[in-house]
Symmetry: C2
């Protein structure tokens, strides 16, 4: 039996570029469209993010998936914590990914999942925008939140589009300034820092919300026709009116999107149901659905995040590591048995 | 940040005895009864066990949990595969367990989960039987299936009870004979090998079904008053009549038990619902419910298996490993940073 390949985050950074992740996510969205990916609804372990008990400010999501085009199965266990984790200066996201050979069930790899999570989240947006705005090459971007996710969103978009201009708002001005400094190489035109949230939404092709905000700060009246809004936060960043008035709703995973994040409340009120979802990103990826006349439409697109994307990227990282003889094999059975890889 | 402690199966075998597991499972059932454990319904990734696609004969279950009395969170990803796995002579169960510090979200341990799965499954039955048959010290046991699970069930029961007699049936006579040979030290009286399935159910206190059978082989008419039946298989081992005629239904996790295993079909037909479940094992553990006059009752008890039990045992294994300086630390962040354990 093959041993289990352990990969740490620094190795994964070497093994996987944003260009790779954008391609992998594209193929896996197509796989989902072709119904070759199996991706059950993620299961939440609430550690006190919203539950009254236990008393920690965080959650963990279990996200198993099988990817047809790569013939791999795995799970990501990932979450976010504030509280003591934040006090210690640790990043919000914590994550681990496990891969198995789906034929035999042996564990082929265990790796850190935080870096992959950040990268694939950016790549999901970039690919989804590509499918919605078929043929468009250059874009203007509005960004709420200039943290880690804001960076990976920008990096991913720059792989797929020519970013003409990016306007960013962060509640901390200095965070926005640091963002501008480190992200300028990804943007052809200028990065502007908005003084008011409303400025971000003017005259852009895509609005990306990557904040921890619990307020519905993005107002319906700010959003122009021709704009795709990506509310990526855990909480509702967009006011109900925009969701109800949008021309199209696009999601990555119907069940997940109705029960978590931006659509949750309206779904519970019965105002947004399965019937209001016009397309999945997978359906747009393979072209069985398209967003007609997208230059005049207001679209809300929710890539809430699927384990499929993480498993797909992790499989690539493992294969690359094997090619480059990186990582560390570990024998979780402890029998010392090493046969030829199956 | 503390590194992640890796433990292999051989180390876990050294670190954890059945006596330990029986005690841990007892405490964790009490924790569940006291509502201090958080254990969402497990999420299935079907790799072809029942689904038409993908084409592998197996499944994986994601089982996250938080355990209050130990203040630990974790996930077990575990499944069973036949097909190529079986051809290779590998055990049915494949599993890995991840533990995090729930306050900070850092991964404190990654370990094999197969051994813990087998042991805790036995310990669940033994403890549940103890709660149902309050005060009874010596028992007669009927066992269907003489494989790995049959052994760990017997080992666990022998920690809690004096086993006066055990009668075992296996479709392979030689498997039953091997079982008898290796298990005699756990049984005060004799181990008898049954020629016919019906013999197992006569005049026993508990009937344990640990088979891969898809037939409802256990007949209602075989089961005497005073017997607790444990259908532990993935499929339905007990005929509908017994379930419908039983005096009491006891489960470990209401939602899970209605949607998987022995109650699934009857639940889908609306014949067994939440209202038919008389108690959870946790409620019996803390004594808020009891099975009155158990010597004259026919009880069906379904410990379908909760991640809580695995996480509880895994936490103990990690703590023991630290005490004994076993296991191997691994830095999944790859930053080489090692601070004092938090």
């Amino acid at each position: 039996m093959e041993q289990t390949l352990l990969l740490n985050q620094e190795e994964i950074k070497e093994l996987v570029t944003m260009k790779d992740v954008v391609k992998l996510v594209d193929k896996t969205f197509q796989d989902m469209g072709n119904e070759k990916t199996v991706n059950p609804t993620k299961v939440l372990l609430d550690l006190g993010e919203t539950a009254a008990y236990p008393p920690y400010e965080g959650f963990m999501n279990a996200m198993p998936a099988y990817i047809g085009w790569q013939d791999i199965a795995g799970i990501k266990w990932a979450g976010g914590l504030l509280g003591k984790r934040k006090e210690l200066g640790l990043p919000y996201i914590t994550s681990m990914i496990l891969l198995i050979n789906p034929q035999i069930g042996n564990f082929v790899s265990v790796m850190d999942g935080a870096y992959i999570t950040n990268f694939r989240t950016g790549a999901q947006t970039a690919n989804a925008l590509k499918y919605i705005k078929r043929g468009q090459k250059s874009i203007k971007v509005g960004l709420y939140g200039a943290g880690m996710q804001g960076r990976t969103q920008t990096m991913a978009l720059s792989e797929v589009f020519d970013i003409e201009e990016l306007i960013v708002y962060d509640i901390y001005r200095e965070v926005a300034e640091k963002f501008k400094e480190s992200m300028e190489s990804y943007v052809r035109g200028n990065i502007k820092i908005a003084k008011e949230p409303s400025e971000v939404a003017q005259n852009v092709d895509a609005i990306i919300c990557v904040t921890q905000s619990k307020d519905s700060f993005l107002k319906d009246e700010w959003v122009q026709p021709g704009t795709v809004v990506f509310p990526m936060g855990s909480y509702q960043e967009v006011e109900n009116e925009f969701i109800l008035n949008a021309d199209h709703i696009v999601v990555d995973h119907v069940e997940q999107c109705l029960h978590r994040g931006v659509l949750k409340d309206l779904n519970e009120q019965g105002k947004v149901t399965k019937e209001h979802i016009d397309a999945t990103i997978g359906e747009l990826a393979i072209g069985v659905k398209t967003i007609e006349d997208f230059r005049n439409k207001r679209v809300i697109c929710i890539p809430i995040g699927t384990g499929a994307m993480d498993i797909s990227v992790a499989k690539f990282a493992m294969d690359e590591a094997k090619k480059r003889k990186m990582g560390k094999p570990f024998d979780f059975l402890g029998t010392g048995e090493i046969a030829t890889p199956l």
